[in-house]
């Protein structure tokens, strides 16, 4: 009964909340509008926006020296999570079966384990840094910790469910993933999408000025 609920209606509900919520958040940001910039540009705003969306993924050298731990942990977590989310065989199968109907080549099992370990290491380092650094401890709020906790639990149960020998572990993993999807649009996890807007706006402004941001 519970298994059917998690696998059926709750999955549909959480996916709907995620899709509608993310769209709503992005639309409300865009609807706030920006005034047209009347200053004569020195360079291209659109080229600047596109450039910054990509180049900001590369660390700034002078910040890398002082914030080394944060940057290394950030790369480990984000790259590891991206790889295991989209290139792990169980996830590809799930996406193909439940969402797109399309599948693609998965990474080998050892690469899956490695990416999961790197993502775990990155997340734990980021969380420890959040708790111990005076700066991040002061900045952080409940949302930051709740988001980290949910992602951690989803990853943990995902690893436990890897053997796929216990149906209950798979269901716990799916249930937590669904909770994450429901929480996602109302949280800082939205940066997964809004970073394109924030980098884009800054890149466009700086691009107009002829500065590579």
């Amino acid at each position: 009964m519970i298994a059917q609920f998690i696998d059926g209606p709750l999955w549909i509900f959480s996916l709907s909340v995620f899709l509608i919520g993310v769209t709503w958040r992005i639309v409300t940001i865009l609807m706030a509008g920006n005034r047209k910039d009347l200053a004569t540009p020195r360079g291209s705003a659109s080229a600047g926006a596109i450039r910054t969306v990509f180049t900001r993924s590369v660390y700034e050298r002078s910040a890398a020296t002082r914030g080394r731990l944060l940057l290394v942990a950030g790369y480990l977590f984000h790259i590891g999570l991206f790889v295991l989310l989209f290139f792990a065989q169980p996830h590809i199968d799930f996406i193909a079966e439940r969402i797109t109907g399309l599948s693609w080549t998965a990474i080998p099992h050892w690469a899956f384990i490695l990416s999961a370990e790197l993502a775990f290491l990155g997340l734990l380092l980021l969380w420890i840094h959040r708790l111990l650094s005076p700066v991040t401890r002061m900045l952080s709020d409940l949302d930051d910790h709740l988001g980290s906790l949910l992602v951690f639990l989803v990853m943990l149960t995902g690893c436990l469910a890897l053997a796929q020998s216990f149906e209950s572990l798979r269901l716990i993993h799916l249930l937590l993933a669904e909770l994450l999807l429901i929480y996602f649009p109302f949280s800082k996890l939205m940066h997964t999408f809004t970073f394109i807007l924030s980098r884009g706006y800054t890149g466009a402004t700086m691009g107009r000025k002829g500065v590579n941001a």
Partner: protein, 423 residues
């Protein structure tokens, strides 16, 4: 509730556009911006973390633009913005931020935190929570025409000295000239050599130029304090004067925020395109050199380094021109470790130099620039902003350093063929 405070909150509310919303939505509180801010690196005080400085605006955004904020405000779970927030954050917003823009260059999600702080100042100034020094400077700028109280009489007295020293006639209110030149009050009062330098350079290069007796001041206290009405009024005076004189170009002087004000924010403040172009003095000098109109006769062997003024370089886009110019007059130009768009601020931009209350902190964080200078092993620092120059000189004096500060325009003038320096 205080009416002025309510107006301040309303002014702040109006600043929350798509850009600001995307920035708050994207911030994951990683704190990396702290590592780019000299107020944090030199004090290690977490409150100086750039993104923390916009907490009041975030509080308003969260309450009015997020699901949890809207829901919480219905049930009284979410706090409203209070006067205490403004009072508690005033020093963070004005004393420990020079609007240098370094934090905006390192934020992983691309937040332009400087833009956020600049926008937040709009609310603070309307609410009356701004430093007295900046309020006074803005009042003088609006009433007298200069934040330092410089009048046309003061300028004419300075110009008379320049004419006597150079034998050149300084054109005032010459209609139809190609270029209208602006100055910062600090140049007129503290560094009149700058005026002499451009007079000599323009004479040598055959530049058609003039000064307007109605609008010669380039600085804009309205931008620094965050008062768009005052800022628009100050920009408008320049626009009207340039239109009356029918000039093709307006020259922004060696002053960082003046360039941001007239070049980048100005058209948006007055709400229209200019019928003329704005060019920074360094852009013009580099252009004259490229066109062969600026004959420079020798290179100085003294080792020199360059302090990039934030608003001209990082926030203004004039990055290569100062390097081209300095390389053309200096044999031993040594770049600082972090230079160009990632240079460290002098500590006095964004109105901090006009804020007496901030002086002890400003002198403390000058340690960052001191370390940068020491790494180069050079004792001559060249810059292109009168405000940076005076802040650097004060920091050097305070730290008992043996370092000379030179204006790039003056350096170029000194290397003109048949310069009076060599006669």
């Amino acid at each position: 509730m205080n009416e002025q405070f309510e107006q301040g909150v309303e002014a702040l509310r109006q600043q929350i556009d798509a850009r600001i919303s995307s920035y708050f939505s994207s911030c994951v509180h990683c704190g990396l911006c702290a590592e780019a801010c000299l107020f944090y690196t030199e004090t290690q005080d977490p409150r100086h973390t750039p993104i923390y400085k916009v907490e009041p605006m975030k509080k308003l955004w969260r309450r009015e633009h997020t699901f949890w904020g809207k829901l919480g405000s219905v049930f009284g779970w979410v706090e409203s913005l209070t006067e205490k927030d403004f009072a508690d954050w005033e020093t963070l917003v004005y004393d420990s931020c020079t609007l240098c823009g370094r934090c905006s260059m390192v934020c992983p999600v691309g937040n332009d935190i400087t833009y956020m702080i600049r926008k937040q100042r709009e609310g603070f100034s309307v609410a009356g929570y701004a430093p007295d020094g900046m309020k006074e400077a803005t009042r003088r700028a609006l009433k007298i025409g200069s934040p330092m109280g410089v009048t046309i009489k003061t300028l004419k007295a300075a110009l008379a000295h320049v004419e006597k020293d150079t034998g050149l006639k300084i054109p005032i209110d010459k209609k139809g000239a190609d270029y209208m030149t602006l100055f910062s009050s600090m140049e007129i009062v503290n560094f009149p050599e700058y005026i002499e330098s451009i007079a000599r350079i323009f004479d040598a290069a055959g530049v058609s130029w003039t000064i307007s007796s109605k609008a010669f001041e380039a600085t804009n206290s309205g931008i620094q304090i965050g008062n768009k009405e005052a800022a628009a009024e100050l920009v408008n005076r320049v626009v009207i004067a340039a239109e009356e004189l029918a000039v093709k170009y307006v020259i922004s002087p060696e002053c960082g925020h003046a360039y941001t004000a007239i070049r980048w924010e100005g058209p948006n403040l007055v709400g229209r395109h200019y019928p003329f172009e704005v060019i920074h003095i360094l852009e013009l000098l580099e252009q004259l050199k490229t066109e062969g109109r600026l004959q420079l006769d020798y290179k100085d062997s003294t080792p020199m380094t360059l302090h990039d003024p934030c608003q001209i370089v990082r926030r203004g886009g004039v990055v290569q021109q100062p390097r081209e110019l300095l390389n053309s007059v200096a044999e031993n130009f040594v770049e600082m470790k972090d230079h160009g768009a990632m240079n460290w601020c002098c500590g006095g931009g964004g109105g901090v130099s006009a804020n007496e209350r901030a002086e002890p902190l400003r002198l403390h964080v000058f340690d960052r620039k001191k370390k940068q200078l020491r790494e180069t092993g050079v004792n001559t620092i060249v810059t292109a902003c009168a405000n940076c120059r005076i802040i650097l000189e004060e920091g050097i004096e305070h730290n008992d350093m043996d370092t000379e500060v030179i204006s790039l325009t003056e350096l170029v003038a000194d290397h003109l063929t048949a310069s009076p320096e060599k006669k």
